[in-house]
Each structure stands twice: as C-alpha cells, then as structure tokens.
C-alpha cells in the first residue's frame, strides 16, 4: 500500500451550505422596490427584468453564508501587499501631452472638450426609464 495515496482524502471533507436551510442567518429574501430603484440609480445599470432581480436575490442569499464564519477580532484585509512599503516614484512628469490622441477616442468632442448631455437632471422615474431603455437600440 502506497502511503502517499492515503494523504488524499477519499471523500469530500465538507458539504455545500444548503441555501434553503433555516439555520442560515435569516435575511428578507425579496429586495424591496425602493431598494431596486436606488440600486439602479447608484449603479446606472438596470435589472432589465424579473430574472435580473432574482439573480440579485440569489447572490445575496449566497453571500449570507459569510455570516457563519467567526471573524471576532480579525482585521479586514485590504491588500496582500500590506506587509511592505510599495515603491513611490519621483514626482516628475514623464509623459502626457496626449490630449489629441485621447479626444479621438470619444464619440462626441468639441475642440478640447468632451461633450456631455446636460447634467444635474436626475434619472426619470422607474416606469419612465423602462420606456427610455426600450427605445434605445443596439
């Protein structure tokens, strides 16, 4: 009998968490309508349909599994390079002067400006947004 072979466990050593389990910390399943609207405004991305919303709910339920882990006294980890001082380069201008090249990438420019539609206008209400998106074509 080869010893090495027994180091690999012959059966799975854990089971996936049952997302329907009542022992999972309970969170309201559905995302309320006002939160849906808020997320769409923050993200400037729409859910498109009921499926999109269901996807979010599944994602939240999946993430809820985190709460079974004991993290008492554990510092959050921002970066795996936290234990070292990273390089700071000299404060010298090495490149630039490429406004023309960059402006060429935009669909709408005037002289050295990127042209944007008028600002400070909030997104229309959710019902009107659906209409706006439906008419956009791509």
């Amino acid at each position: 009998m080869i010893k090495g072979h027994t180091q690999v466990p012959s059966v799975a050593t854990w089971n996936p968490v049952d997302l329907q389990s009542p022992t999972l910390p309970h969170q309201p399943r559905e995302v309320p309508a006002d939160l849906v609207d808020r997320l769409e405004r923050l993200a400037l991305v729409d859910f498109r349909n009921q499926e999109g919303l269901a996807c979010l709910e599944k994602a939240i339920r999946f993430a809820d599994q985190l709460h079974v882990v004991d993290t008492e006294g554990v510092d959050p980890l921002d970066s795996v390079l936290e234990d070292r001082a990273l390089l700071l380069r000299d404060d010298k201008v090495l490149e630039g002067d490429c406004a023309e090249e960059l402006l060429e990438l935009s669909k709408s420019t005037v002289e050295e400006y990127f042209v944007a539609p008028p600002g400070n206008i909030p997104l229309p209400k959710r019902e009107e947004r659906a209409g706006m998106l439906k008419h956009s074509s791509f």
Binding site: I60, P118, G119
Partner: protein, 500 residues
C-alpha cells in the same frame, strides 16, 4: 514546427531551420484552419508579418534579442494593445482602440516577440467557461481530436466541449498550436481553469510580480496577468521577462529572487508536499481524485515528504471571493459611461440618462448583474455586514496558507478544476454566477492570498480530455514552484502536441 516549445523553436530560428516570417505565416494559416474554435477576436495579420520581418532581419544580422525574438504570441482581449481593437468581448468596447500598450505586451514586443492576435474571453473576464462574450463562445480544441471523438462518439460540431474561462481563447490558441505563448488574466482562476481544461501550462504569478498597467481591471486586489505555454520552462522564461517593478503600476514589487533557468534535475527529496484535505470538495470528479492521488504517490515514491494538511476556511473562500469580486467590479465598471471612450448611446436628454442607456446597451446580463450585487454589498447599510466581513474572511484564508507554509510545507498539490471539460450544452444549463461559484472553488483562494500557482496538465480523462493539477507555493517563490512543476511535467509525459 508549431508543436515545439518556445525553447525549441527559438533554437530552430537561431539555427536557420525556419525563418521568423515562415513561422509567422504558419501560425496565421493555422489560425485560419482553426477558425471554428473562435479563439481569436482579432488576428493582427499585417502587423505580425511586419514584426516577423523585423525579427528576420535581426536574425540575419546575428543580432537576435533573446529567447522570445520572432516567437508568435497571443494576448487576451482585455489587455490594451496600441491601435489594435481591445474589446473585452463586450459591446461596450467593440470599437475601442487603446492609444497604448499594456506593460506586459510592451515587454514582449521589446523582446521581439510577434503579436499574432487578441483572444476571446467571457465578457470583461467574468465567467468560467468563455461562453459569455459578445463574439460567441470558444471551443476547446480537444473536442476535435480523436481521443474525444472516438471515446465519446459525438459529433464535435454539435457537441463540443468548453475551454473553461475566462481566458479560454488564450488557452485554445496555445493548445491548438496557433501560438507559442498566450497571456491571460487570473482573478479567480481565469488562467488556470482554461489551462487545465485545454491541456496547457498555466501560471498565475505572485500578486505584485507582474504589472497590471494596461490590463483592464476587474478586481484590483486580485487581478494578475497569467502566462500560458506548452512547457513549464517556457512559462519560467516568460515570467523572467515580464516580472519587475513598473512605475505605472504602484502595486508592483521587486522579486527578491531572480529567475534564471530552472534546474534540470530538481531533487524532490528535500521538499514537503502538502495535500490540503478541504480540496476534496463536493463535486470533485472521481477521475481527478484518482489523478491527484497518483501524483501524491509519485512525489512520495521519489522521496518527497507528502503530508495531509488543513486549510480550514477553504469552503468559505468562494463566498468571500464572490462578495469582494462583485464589490470591486461595481467600482471598476463605473468608468464605462460612454463619455470618453467606448460605446455611447444616442440618448442625450441628460448625462444620467445617457450613462444608463449606454450601460444598458453595452454590458451583458452577467456584467450588469455583478455591478448591481456589488453595489448592494457596498450600500452603507450593508458595507460592514458584507464587504468588511468578506475582507475579514479573506484574512483568515490568507492566514490558513501562511500557517501551512510556516509548518514546513514547500508546495501544495491540489486539483485545478472539478472535472475535465464539460459539453457546452451541459455547461450552459446553469447561469454564469452558479457555474463560476462551482468551477472556481480550487483556484480563487490563491487569488485571495496573492500566492503563485501553476496548473500542469498531467493526463487525459476517460473522455479523452485533459486533466490538470495545481501546485501552490508561498508568495514570491515562483521559481521554486516552477521547478517542482517541471519535475512533474518531466514524469507525466503529457501529449501537448496532440492538436497537430
């Protein structure tokens, strides 16, 4: 010729057995022949021939630059290439041509390597199948080879298998012999996963070793450029060229060890191989399990110490990754608003309306879904519960690895994927998020801890498809990692050039 390694073809070029332009043309022809794989989004034919001619004149003068001079290479289409379309397989960037080269691309070009094309991927590198890009899915070249066809009796045109992802195009390019080297990106396994399923060597270097400047970012704290080749020694050669501080990427660090040639005869008697028990995860296929055991035996019979170890937080890693990934994605995708580059919608009633419709039109469901859930986790009411919590769990996962390596383990041996490549028709039965959560189980903990890992193909499954195993080492021990990987490669005799 096309099935040779970089080392071998470089010798052939120096000895004049083939010229850079002949080699380039062979690769371009092969790309045309393997068009059905959909591995490439853009083939840079004219540019490649130009670069090959320049390489040729260098060789003729006896002034070749180094081991990569004249060597055709491919780049995943989320790395910026100057004046060459860089799409991220998304409508958002389908006509975008960056004004600069990613540092890693520039370094390869500076070595005289010949850019042959930009490879296909899941849109914005989100996915584990290379099935969700705007230009269609990538097909695994092994679908068309006799082992798979004979053993399963299927018609590959209707029942092909996936490459895995998200760097599927790069893996297919190297595997189908259209390129000697391909760059991928690896955030949760996106280089190692398709590497394993397509039977190529796939290296994820230590975070910080290789510049991310010009790699369109997904998760800044985890993204790493990945290297795919048909030999471990080739991967080491490329890493040696790519690694190093880049003033344009403040997260790059200097590798303490230089990457000279790998030892030809590495002695495993001096090392301890750890088998993390939690990597027998639910869903691991029996064949991959057997292969894992076979390799563990191989190490032990050669005199290495092989020990079972524990990485206790492994099963929570995928959830942790899910939250952190979505949160960083939500932030990184905010730059796509149609104003300065990329797609722009025709709606112009207000900036907000223009941004919203641009993003509605430009992003697919997967991308939009991740942005929305990322924004959810970052809401003030959720930030602590989800984002900070995930960062705490990330530390526990990183600590698990540190602990195991401190206890005397030199390298960990694990599966790379749950099984061999799935049929496209099977894979697409579940949504992208579910599949990513399943398929990334062995690979993403490595990204969370920032460690180097390599997937080495070791055998073919009973369906005639590649199985790869993963080796993981402590941070910045990439060279030792590759030395061990080469030892494995020398003993398993994987048929890299089957795609001939």
């Amino acid at each position: 010729m096309l099935s040779l390694s970089i080392r071998e073809i470089s010798l052939a070029l120096r000895e004049g057995r083939i010229s850079p332009t002949e080699l380039c043309r062979k690769c371009l022809n092969r790309i045309k022949k393997t068009h059905h794989l959909n591995a490439y989004i853009t083939v840079t034919e004219e540019l490649a021939i130009e670069q090959a001619q320049e390489a040729e004149s260098r060789f003729n003068r006896g002034a070749h630059k180094g081991p990569l001079d004249g060597i055709p290479f491919a780049v995943k289409d989320n790395f910026c290439t100057k004046n060459i379309k860089t799409t991220c397989a998304s409508k958002m960037l389908k006509d975008y041509s960056p004004p600069y080269n990613a540092t890693v691309v520039q370094k390869l070009l500076d070595q005289g390597a010949v850019l042959i094309g930009k490879t296909n991927l899941d849109e914005f590198a989100m996915g584990a199948g290379s099935t969700d890009g705007a230009f269609g899915p990538v097909r695994n070249p092994w679908s068309y080879l006799s082992p798979y066809r004979d053993l399963t009796g299927v018609d590959p045109n209707s029942d092909w298998v996936i490459t895995g992802g998200s760097s599927g195009g790069s893996a297919a390019a190297v595997s189908s012999l259209t390129s000697f080297l391909a760059l991928g990106s690896d955030t949760g396994g996106s280089t190692r996963n398709p590497g394993a399923l397509c039977g190529v060597v796939a290296l994820k270097p230590t975070y910080g070793l290789v510049s991310r400047h010009g790699l369109i970012p997904l998760v800044n704290s985890m993204d790493v450029p990945g290297i795919m080749t048909r030999s471990v020694n080739d991967a080491a050669t490329v890493l040696g060229i790519l690694q190093g501080i880049d003033v344009r990427d403040s997260t790059t660090v200097q590798n303490p060890a230089s990457l000279s040639d790998l030892p030809e005869d590495f002695n495993v008697k001096n090392i301890c191989v750890g088998i993390p028990k939690e990597y027998h995860a639910p869903g691991l296929s029996p064949e991959t399990l057997v292969e894992w055991g076979r390799l563990a035996d191989m190490f032990e019979q050669a005199g290495a110490r092989v020990e079972q170890v524990s990485l206790p937080h492994t099963q929570h890693s995928i959830v942790c990754y899910h939250v952190l990934c979505h949160a960083e994605v939500a932030s990184n995708m905010a730059r796509f608003d149609g104003l300065e580059y990329g797609h722009r919608s025709r709606v112009d009633s207000s900036t907000e309306a223009m941004y919203a419709t641009t993003r509605h039109e430009g992003f697919n469901d997967v991308v939009r879904g991740r942005i929305l859930s990322g924004n959810f986790f970052l809401l003030r009411q959720n930030y602590e519960r989800y984002f900070l919590k995930a960062q705490q769990v990330r530390r526990l996962i990183a600590e698990d690895f540190k602990q195991v390596f401190r206890s005397g383990v030199d390298v960990l041996l694990t599966p790379t994927t749950l099984a061999d490549a799935a049929r496209y028709t099977d894979f697409t039965r579940e949504d992208n998020r579910t599949r990513s959560a399943q398929e990334d189980v062995f690979t993403q903990p490595v990204n969370m801890a920032g460690l180097p890992a390599v997937s080495v193909p070791t055998t073919l499954s009973s369906r005639g498809l590649p199985i790869g195993l993963q080796l993981i080492s402590p941070a910045f021990q990439d060279k030792k990692l590759l030395a061990v990987a080469q030892w494995v490669e020398q003993r398993v005799g994987f048929p890299y050039s089957s795609c001939n």
